[in-house]
């Protein structure tokens, strides 16, 4: 079974999930009894808007038909029209996507850069002071609200300590983006670090006690080589899985962090749209988020298969 075969198989498995996702997104507007259009619009329920939604969503037709039309629209790339800006929701999302992607990418890199050395330190100095400190990280760290961490970082690094980083906004140019994104990315990264550290430390400990590490030591190899070439190489595999599973959290974290740092990404778009009761946009962003997460799951699976030669022989 080759890599393409594996990917194809995974994609096939994703089809029912993709359907499920669209169903869930579709049903969002039908959650509350009564006229969905009126509920969605709330105080903005002018007769024009209500009629507009009825037309857009075919609300007078039976549910399965509505769902089918919804699906067909999405397949065409039409994610609905924004009520407030009268532009396709899809275009709005696309415009706001870059900052969010930046955030996710930078946060992942930072998370790995922070977690791996910490976990390695804890695993190699097991039960000594460093280990206890590192073990406290997941315990305490999981209780920190991400947005609050962002605000604290803003306070310390943005407002005090020499105002090293801007307190908000996206900046311009590559370096400008990096500069503006650093604190937000760090916030998101810190949100996922506790889980990563805990899992990587556990895998490393398990691996360090394994027989093949003993074999490596019996060859008289330097401890560093044993750690990196043998232990880490294996521990990383399970961590990639953990990272993949928790990516939902990472991506979700961007939503709140964008609010804290006023980043013009799709998270902020979603929040704004909620307050403006611009439902099509909310729906579009929700869908896009789900697609991103699913793609990342797929990517993690592929990376896992690449790293672990045992996988393809399922």
């Amino acid at each position: 079974m080759s890599l393409t075969g594996y990917v194809a198989r995974r994609l096939l498995q994703l089809v029912p999930i993709a359907f499920g996702v669209t169903i869930l997104v579709f049903f969002l507007i039908h959650l509350v009894p009564g006229d969905p259009a009126r509920t969605m619009l709330g105080n903005h329920a002018t007769p024009q808007n209500v009629a507009l939604l009825h037309r857009q969503w075919g609300l007078d037709e039976p549910l399965p038909v509505q769902y089918w039309r919804f699906l067909a629209r999405i397949a065409r790339g039409d994610l609905g029209s924004s009520l407030n800006y009268s532009v396709p929701a899809g275009r709005l999302v696309l415009e706001r996507l870059p900052p969010t992607l930046w955030l996710i990418g930078l946060a992942t890199i930072l998370a790995v850069l922070i977690s791996v050395p910490l976990a390695a330190l804890a695993a190699t100095k097991r039960d000594r002071a460093a280990d206890h400190v590192v073990r406290a990280v997941p315990l305490v760290g999981l209780g920190f609200p991400q947005f609050w961490v962002g605000i604290m970082l803003l306070l310390v690094f943005g407002l005090h300590l020499g105002r090293a980083f801007p307190v908000g906004g996206y900046g311009s140019g590559f370096v400008g983006h990096l500069h503006s994104m650093f604190l937000p990315a760090l916030t998101v990264a810190l949100g996922i670090t506790p889980i990563l550290v805990r899992s990587l430390r556990a895998s490393l400990l398990e691996v360090l006690e394994s027989d093949y590490v003993t074999t490596a030591r019996s060859k008289g190899l330097p401890e560093r080589r044993v750690l990196v070439r043998h232990a880490l190489r294996n521990a990383v595999i399970s961590t990639v899985s953990v990272l993949g599973v928790n990516i939902g959290f990472l991506v979700g974290g961007t939503l709140v962090v964008e609010q804290v740092f006023a980043l013009p990404g799709i998270g902020q778009l979603m929040i704004n749209s909620i307050f403006q009761r611009d439902f099509p946009v909310v729906q579009a962003v929700t869908l896009v988020f789900a697609v991103m997460v699913v793609l990342v799951y797929l990517l993690t699976d592929v990376v896992h298969a690449l790293l672990d030669p045992r996988v393809r022989f399922d």
């Binding site: 969002l28 609200p145 909310v282 799951y297």
Partner: protein
């Protein structure tokens, strides 16, 4: 045959409980967790007595005051006493978080039990539901649901339930898959006990411990969710005090009265720490010897 199987299974359950009674005070994480959480819950319950200002009472002549004897943590931008808001906020957030755990727990455990035990199409369908929910980032789905349902505490419960049952289902299903191959279950089935009896009296007590332990950390997640929703303006509606909203309101004054945003956050961290320690301790205690 049936009686023997029942006795065996009961013995396994009793093992768990006996271990618990004997060791709880010798498990440091459990004791620490209970102490921390206990103090906070106590403060929350005694909020009307432990504070002497009305948390929603505004006093525009006293805005943004520094800590003083009358206002131990100062006042916020509308002149409200921060200490009182902190305590009453604890009431709100803790109560909602504890309640919000119940439905996902019950629903997730039930589905997990059925899917794990019976397998087949029930399992496939349940797993499909799980995969779909999990495809959405946690907060995105919660926020979308809160938006669709409308704001207010009742809808927060519903939203958290729709998203939260998944973890319990997975945990319980996993435990059931392992447990149903164990001797006591095989003996029970060979002894002709009905499925309901096996699930209810034999599987359930043994698999539920993991779910309970998780529930503790789930409360932490729920507190964070509620507080985050509050920060975004989508949570508990004002004027009811809520830690998240307090942090949001304080963000505007970060340059001068930074403690307005900092203090409620610290409260969350300490509460979460207590719960996490409790969860760890509970996990240690409920682990079979």
């Amino acid at each position: 045959m049936g009686a023997a199987a029942e006795t065996f299974a009961e013995a396994v359950v009793i093992e768990h409980r006996r271990g618990f009674r004997r060791r709880w005070y010798r498990t440091p994480s459990f004791v620490a967790g209970v102490s921390i959480l206990g103090s906070i819950v106590l403060l929350a319950v005694l909020a009307p007595v432990a504070s002497w200002h009305d948390p929603i009472q505004q006093d525009l002549s006293q805005i943004l005051q520094s800590p003083s004897w009358d206002h131990p943590l100062g006042t916020d931008e509308l002149g409200r006493d921060v200490w009182a808001r902190l305590l009453f906020g604890a009431r709100t957030d803790l109560r909602v978080a504890f309640l919000a755990v119940l439905f996902p727990f019950v629903i997730g455990t039930t589905i997990g039990l059925l899917a794990g035990y019976f397998g087949g199409w029930m399992d496939t369908v349940a797993n499909w539901f799980v995969s779909v929910v999990v495809a959405f980032p946690f907060y995105v789905l919660i926020i979308a649901l809160v938006f669709a349902l409308g704001s207010g505490t009742r809808n927060i419960y519903i939203a958290i339930t729709i998203v939260g049952w998944v973890s319990y289902m997975r945990i319980v299903r996993g435990e059931v898959l392992v447990a149903k191959r164990r001797d006591y279950v095989l003996a029970a089935r060979a002894g002709g006990l009905s499925d309901t009896r096996i699930i209810g009296r034999h599987l359930l007590p043994n698999v539920i411990t993991q779910a309970i332990v998780f529930a503790m950390s789930d409360i932490v997640l729920d507190i964070l969710a509620i507080v985050t929703l509050g920060y975004l303006g989508l949570g508990v509606q004002p004027p009811t005090p809520d830690w998240g909203k307090m942090i949001a309101d304080g963000q505007t004054y970060l340059t001068t009265q930074w403690e307005l945003s900092t203090i409620p956050g610290i409260a969350v961290v300490i509460t979460a720490l207590g719960l996490s320690l409790l969860a760890d301790g509970l996990a240690d205690l409920l682990r079979p010897e």
